[in-house]
Symmetry: C2
Subunit: 493 residues, 2 copies
């Protein structure tokens, strides 16, 4: 056994344990008996403590010191890169601080949920102040004198910086706002109405999952309050939800999660339980979920097929034809909630959070002023006032659990999806005729071969650049959205 073999064997066991810990999370949201929560908390904490000990095992440093990277192949060097990053990250943060963050964020989530239920930001502010302060302290430990926000971002999007995202998003925002204003001035398509049997929704949603290539022999679909994808390798499970008034919520949540799951399922089997064996970043992950959901799932071609499926499942549901259905699916509506936003407005929600959280981290904004800042910015961007905190600053769980630096990866994922979609259209000329027949294989095969199979082999930007032929930039997404919504809303007229 060489030092590299020892390191990889250790790593493999760590990855297996991380899968176990992740599955506990899945179980908690899908299967766990209600009364098991206190015990589950201890189980999760015990797993985290095992994983932390393994990730900071001093043998890792000594193995790393013994390995000559030039003797390794590309995969080997990429493995080292991930292991070194994880070891250094875990080692830079004092154990006491890590434990305190774990404890405080765990309690903060409950306090946030109560504050949201009573629309009372002030009840949450002291907790958020503490979480922010602890995460800032952690960021400072990680940044070692560098930019604290960049250090936070690095947890979710290795290699990205606040400055480059600011430039990218700065170019995106005014154009999205202008497009949105034009759409709001135009005549809106009808809304979906009526009730849709939830069992029939689940049946069709499973069909959609398979249609988008979800591998049921290595996964399963269950219901949960919030849709998510969980796990890597040979066991990647997704959840969805149903609401009898809104079948699109079920279907597009499923397609979105299938995008995440397909990424994990599509990684080269040789990378199983190695550092290359999971999606490389939140942004690249979101590029897969969003391109499945939007550029493919909400395309005119695919909605034509989905229209037929919905008629089969629900009979006549009040939408006369496929073209109207396409417009109904892509209707741009006013709203407060990020997760319910349409493709056009979604990124405006994210950019608001990105700007506010950077200001919080850099002390330019105090938590006590956050609600007012949110409401002002929202009104400036959307043209109407936030009516209550649960529709505004309290709507997302992220900050309560310390996820500063996470929000921008949502928009970055959309930017990546724009680049990938442009290249996919270039490479696969028959895409629309396939999608209109409910066949996604050309698209999903392309994404698998160009993005998913690589897992953690390349850095996030490199993945997108290799697949799309260009450095990640916002132009393809803007062109796509402008073309799509100009057509949908007859804006050229």
């Amino acid at each position: 056994m060489t030092a590299y073999d020892d390191l990889m064997a250790h790593q493999r066991e760590t990855q297996a344990l991380a899968q176990v810990a992740g599955r506990l999370g899945w179980d908690q949201e899908t299967m766990m008996p209600r009364g098991a929560a206190p015990q589950r908390g201890e189980e999760m904490a015990a797993m985290e403590s095992v994983l932390h000990a393994r990730r900071t095992d001093p043998r890792i440093e000594s193995w790393l010191a013994q390995i000559a990277p030039q003797a390794l192949d590309d995969q080997g060097r990429a493995n080292l890169r991930h292991i070194r990053r994880s070891f250094e990250r875990a080692s830079k943060v004092p154990a006491a601080l890590a434990a305190r963050i774990a404890r405080v964020t765990s309690e903060a989530q409950g306090i946030w949920a109560e504050a949201r239920a009573s629309d009372d930001f002030k009840a949450f502010a002291p907790t958020l102040t503490e979480v922010l302060s602890l995460k800032r302290e952690e960021g400072q430990a990680l940044a070692m004198g560098g930019n604290v926000y960049d250090a936070m971002l690095d947890d979710y999007e290795p290699g990205a910086t606040g400055a480059e995202l600011e430039a990218m998003f700065g170019a995106l925002r005014p154009k999205l706002s202008a497009l949105r204003a034009a759409v709001r001035d135009a005549k809106a398509p009808p809304r979906l109405s009526g009730r849709f049997d939830e069992n029939a929704q689940m049946k069709l949603t499973r069909r959609l999952a398979k249609t988008f290539g979800y591998d049921m022999t290595h996964g399963r679909v269950d219901k949960a309050v919030h849709p998510f994808s969980s796990g890597s390798g040979l066991d990647v499970r997704i959840t969805t939800r149903t609401n009898d008034l809104d079948p699109f919520n079920c279907f597009y949540s499923t397609i979105h999660e299938v995008g995440h799951a397909a990424y994990e399922q599509g990684i080269h089997r040789d990378y199983l339980l190695t550092p290359l064996g999971q999606g490389v970043s939140m942004g690249v992950h979101e590029s897969q979920s969003r391109i499945y959901e939007n550029q493919l799932g909400r395309s005119r071609a695919f909605t034509e097929w989905l229209f037929g499926q919905m008629k089969d499942a629900f009979g006549d549901f009040g939408v006369p034809d496929a073209e109207t259905f396409y417009r109904v699916v892509n209707r741009v509506s006013d709203g407060f909630i990020r997760t319910e936003a349409d493709e056009l407005q979604y990124n405006l929600h994210v950019l608001l959070r990105f700007d506010l959280e950077r200001a919080l981290v850099s002390h330019d904004l105090q938590v006590s002023d956050l609600e007012a800042a949110w409401n002002d910015r929202f009104e400036a961007d959307f043209g109407y006032k936030v009516d209550k905190a649960s529709n505004g600053v309290l709507q997302d769980v992220h900050w309560s659990v310390g996820l500063f630096g996470y929000f921008p990866t949502y928009s970055l994922g959309n930017v990546y999806a724009g680049c990938l979609h442009e290249a996919l259209r270039r490479d696969v000329s028959a895409l629309d005729s396939q999608l209109a027949a409910g066949d996604t294989t050309a698209a999903t095969d392309w994404l698998r071969a160009n993005v998913q199979t690589h897992g953690g082999l390349y850095e996030p930007k490199e993945v997108i650049e290799r697949a799309s032929g260009q450095a990640p930039n916002e132009a393809p997404l803007l062109t796509y959205l402008t073309d799509k919504f100009s057509d949908l809303y007859d804006l050229s007229a």
Copy 2:
């Protein structure tokens, strides 16, 4: 923090991790996607390796050395007893041997399953020889010069010895055989016939689970190939199965597993995630499952209520009245399979295995002669010949996975159940009138207060003695079975 506090904190985390590992097993049998098996194997192995390292942590020895047991209360001393036993057990077995046993038994299970499918004991014999030899080696390491079979038994029934079980079972066997012979000479009640909707079975089985006090806020019922109970503390899940020809299989499997689960759920909450927080032995565990299933669930009083439930669930199912139903439920039938055996014959199946496995361990019987020895003994005990290996020596998984010393705990559990049932009848005079109304609370409350709540506080024999007022012995079971089947089969006539 005293040494005791440190030890208990370490132990608590270990217990939490053991719960996680156990739930992986539950998931594998109920939820896991088929294709996930290879990854799951690595996940389980990684958890086992973490648990083994924790159980042999040298700090345990040093903490134990610093603690004065006389300064502790009863619970504290019982905790120490369990921790010391676990540490010594884990430390006596060389790590290389433990790893080899884990690997060989993991493969052996598959080889056994194939051999069983083709009724070919010879295909399994070499593997069984290896498993036996490794387990004997482990037993020798544990026995340290003492009796090897007793050391094996100690893993499942601490404090029991082969000699005392031999005496107990030696007294049981001729009387069971005589009773069985008399029953076989008598007129048999009818068999159940017809088909029983499997959804209706599941609905009634959930009702039965609740009727026997299963706490659904800390558990759940799913289907699996083999019924089992899994977990301790606040998350104790059971499984059952359905077969449209045999609803009793579903119902009595459920009641049996509820007995196991009620034990875990009934342990004093103060013992959560401590060494006292799970059932103290396999025998005591089986006493709970069997008394729920048989002495309560197959009683004339309870089957009277169940008869009404079955009529509600399935309409007229061909059994005219409650008394006939009681006889149908308790019908004694010929058969080869232990797990399908009725209350009267079950222990004969177990005693056969107990004698054969002791002979294997002591070298008095060679694996090459095992099939013939099984078949001879079976014919002597049951009066007809084994027709194929899957109905004989290959029917149980236990030996393939190295569970030597486990079988006798099944019969010991029945013996314990006999003692407990005698005391329960003495203490709860209105038992039958309650059971006939579908109310088990007096019985289950008594079992909870006298057995379940104690968890690991007392040694197994002590639990039974405290609850029943007598040292465990076979007489109450024999009296119960003789009375029950003499009445059922009119043997006095």
